[in-house]
Symmetry: C2
Subunit: 403 residues, 2 copies
Amino acid sequence: MAKIALMGYGVVGSGLIELIDNNKSKIDNLEVSSILVRCLSKHEGKKYSEYLTDNVEEFFSQESDIVVEVMGSLHPAYEYVKRALQAKKHVVTANKDLIAEYGGELLSLAKESGVTLKFEASVGGGIPILKPLIESLEGNSIKSIRGILNGTTNYILTKMYNENVDYEEALKEAQALGFAEANPDSDVLGYDAARKLAILSTIAYKNRISWKNINIEGINNLERQDFIYAKELGYRIKLIAESIMEGDQVYASVRPALVKEGSILSTINNEVNGVVFHGDAVGEVSFTGKGAGMLPTGSAVFGDVLDIIRGRKETSENYLNEILVNRYIDSEVGVLIRIKTEEKKNVIKKLRLEFPDLQLVGEKRDELALYMNTLGETKIHDALERLKLEGNIISFKKLLRAV
Amino acid sequence: MAKIALMGYGVVGSGLIELIDNNKSKIDNLEVSSILVRCLSKHEGKKYSEYLTDNVEEFFSQESDIVVEVMGSLHPAYEYVKRALQAKKHVVTANKDLIAEYGGELLSLAKESGVTLKFEASVGGGIPILKPLIESLEGNSIKSIRGILNGTTNYILTKMYNENVDYEEALKEAQALGFAEANPDSDVLGYDAARKLAILSTIAYKNRISWKNINIEGINNLERQDFIYAKELGYRIKLIAESIMEGDQVYASVRPALVKEGSILSTINNEVNGVVFHGDAVGEVSFTGKGAGMLPTGSAVFGDVLDIIRGRKETSENYLNEILVNRYIDSEVGVLIRIKTEEKKNVIKKLRLEFPDLQLVGEKRDELALYMNTLGETKIHDALERLKLEGNIISFKKLLRAV
């Protein structure tokens, strides 16, 4: 009989409890031993309320084999998980902030204690991503990762694309429907996706990629007009989390990008998440599904718990060697540019010298929308900065194509 | 040190050998001990040729821990795998025919012998499908499976859609490029996909689904005109392998179906495979990637080998209780119908009484193409049979929409 001690009894915790109950007839060697919450009265009347405690000492004094952390945020989750591992408990967590920040340290600690730390639910909610990456694709060198890892922003961008509404309006509706938090910064500014990309990249490239070194751009500056231009070119706009291993360098970014209609990533809409790995042996494999929610995330946490009780140990290691993250991807790429200028003809003429395939997507009184292919983002960026310096353009905004 | 004995040294066997070599620096506890082939001279000059033997007794007399079967076909693979299991060797196989036919028996035998039988590569080539299904989604009841499981037919159908060529022309090109065999029957008649669907369904629904009970329709009767009509309605045509659990019954079919442009399945083209599971907790999750090929399939075989040497045992059980497979899916579905008739107006009038949303897609001198929604395939099928009996129509052909 494996005893489960639960830290946190919110959405994901409730999902896990429901799955433990639903699966009683198939999996009968699981038992809830204690549930730690901040406020007892908030959880009155819930299932297993006899196991509730708001006293951390009492919680840790109860017998348990596996501690499940679904409280979220960095503190006190970090301290509690550390304490659990030191007490030689296996730990399952859904906490991406925790793993992105302290994953290496906590994995080391788990190893020292001879226990397992698992965190499938921290990336992509219910979608099996980490297990296939770590176990099934172990014989591959991963060349790149490209994904839609944040449901809130994907919901907003899908709405902006489908209904051609402004960012603020889409955000408000996402908040009203519970897809976005009252303070949506961590999602809309790209931090949440960057933490998930850091976890995936660290595992895939076997070197630590810190999320703080990732080039992050949120969706909050996107305008209705960006979608109109993108649509005209046959693209959607998605918040793409992408990293590429080249030689011994990793390029990593989270930013809005153009995604070709008809590609797998273009079909990932609303709150769905998805990721495409490129492995040297397997080629491209993709995984999609619900990136959040009570039962989807609960399903991933439950899978981790079952792995532990079945003795299936994965080999996720603590890669502490941090490697350089470059900010620009200098391979051939298509780019949509919006330029504020009073000299439209002159700007087109000058740019066409360097970018002969330049295509006019649209124009307004003082604006040009252009699409072109360039050998490296640096090249187009430098060209635009030069035109700005020379006074030909007032400002510019660019959206790269995700391959 | 784990000793690997290989049965078969064709495409997949060579892929595995390449991966063992490529990963030597990371995974150094693997050793090839023997390779069984039919004809020695065919493999002269290949890597590890010093381990080749065409003598099955000699092969089994060599020390080994894991036997990898990549010879294909039912016999003698069945006899050899049985012998390996009886000798208490772990077995990894890529052989879908073998597992679809004898999976239950072989899993029982493995259990008796205290060894592991793994077969990730038998469905979806390099895509991790069985492991996520068996391990990550264990807390879910699977409600349905929908997939594109055969690369040869998907290549042909993609070509017919993109280039509007006839079936025979697309098949010939697939053969010339090595995507289809000289005798393509097992692929184009749907048997290969049905075997894979049977393996997936047996695992997902925990009851044996025999591929012989699946409603199978090949792609060989598809015509250029079917694609023209489908395109007009915003659909592609794919060979869809589908099974649905309803109550204690399973509905299972492999047949050409309409797939909505913009859906995940519509983006799976050429030799790519993909599958969508619907789990009660996780919702829809999908997996896509290369369904065949030396290194992709080798990657899946290698993953199974690593699972065994790392002691990660999955719980794939031998479900021997065969359950009924119904042939028609009686939920609401859209259907494209082509009708040969001399009484076009009359037929439309009669059908509209029962199917008020009937839509005229196209017509020729003696042909009608109609699209309608129906509550169950039986209903439309019966209506058409009745019109045929009454002499209003000469023949009909239908293509259902895959949900």
